[in-house]
Symmetry: C2
Subunit: 211 residues, 2 copies
């Protein structure tokens, strides 16, 4: 059964933490910032969380009005979790927390990087040239495919395969992150095959990192 402890403090900060302060809760929200996800996808994206606990957190977030649980209409009929409006309002806070965490004295750790966090970063920093044509990328990260579309100065990131794409890339979160920080690593990444272009030309692929 879900956790039911509270700080018992009328303060709005404490009440917010009652809702999203339990362990893993905010990382679940982070995952859902890129769109609705299924239980199993959340598990894969959050290595270390047990199925048991993920169930509890999702239920708590649901009763707290942060997440909604819905069953897709047939023939899909799968269960998906999605942020509510209130949940989406956490985005700037979570991104700010990420910026704070980045400034922290990190002991040069080489820990695996979550795909979602890199994609969130991409979405938050990329401001494509508004004059540029709409470009749709299919990006495969950690075995999952994402749709990244640049259009009229904005970037959208969605889970799943795009209906059609201009370029299909395959890489890992660490490489993607490195390329966003320094686009000039593009050719080197192609060379050691940490980045693979499955379709589309190199110039189109490279443009994703030159935003």
């Amino acid at each position: 059964m879900p956790t039911m402890r509270s700080y018992r403090d009328g303060c709005a900060i404490a009440r917010a933490l009652d809702a999203i302060g339990e362990r893993w809760a905010l990382l679940v929200v982070r995952e859902l910032l890129l769109g609705a996800q299924r239980f199993t996808d959340l598990r894969r994206a959050l290595p270390g969380v047990s199925a048991n606990l993920l169930t509890d957190r999702l239920r708590e977030l649901e009763v707290n009005g942060v997440v909604t649980r819905s069953t897709l209409p047939p023939p899909a009929a799968s269960v998906v979790y999605e942020l509510t409006g209130s949940g989406r309002e956490l985005e700037p806070i979570i991104l700010a927390l990420g910026q704070w965490g980045q400034r922290m004295p990190g002991p040069a750790d080489r820990r695996p990087l979550s795909a979602t966090s890199v994609l969130l970063y991409l979405r938050s920093v990329c401001r494509p040239d508004p004059a540029e044509q709409r470009t749709v990328y299919a990006v495969e990260l950690d075995g999952r495919t994402w749709t990244i579309a640049t259009s009229q100065g904005t970037v959208t990131v969605e889970s799943g395969e795009p209906p059609q794409h201009d370029s299909r890339l395959r890489t890992d979160p660490e490489t993607l992150n490195a390329l966003l920080a320094d686009p000039s690593l593009f050719e080197a990444a192609l060379d050691d095959r940490t980045l693979v272009i499955d379709s589309g030309d190199a110039a189109t692929g490279r443009r994703l990192f030159s935003l």
Copy 2:
């Protein structure tokens, strides 16, 4: 000994949560946003936290570079905890979390309100008239005295007794919060003595809530 668990995720959000995501940690930071505090004051301000847990959290926050522990020079010689620069950078995030928490569907709870949260709110919303003369208030809340000074369009809130003051008020967090939301309740609060003016005239006291 302190908690030593980690999300083991290179993502900056997860690393931030490793530093300040444990239970009570962010509320400790909240308390310290108004200035250095002693162990016992933190305990009183955070009813529900046990002494050993507070010790653990303070140590963790210390090793994570969020808090510094220092012994005041004699004759005080007391131990105080204070935010580092990194810790102070959490202020906008914590305030944003508070705004999010306030928008949450609160089930009309009448839980005790922490003094710090009301003072943080006061400091964040009050924009006094820059033309106004500097005014120093001594405000007693929950048995502790705070110094609130308005000067040149800014408000400062500090723990402790001011050297001199223009007005001395005594009230409780709930009343102070209500007065900030609706200054017209000032006279009613004086009537039922949930607000007491110990020194200074009523007009000066009232000005604190008309910012």
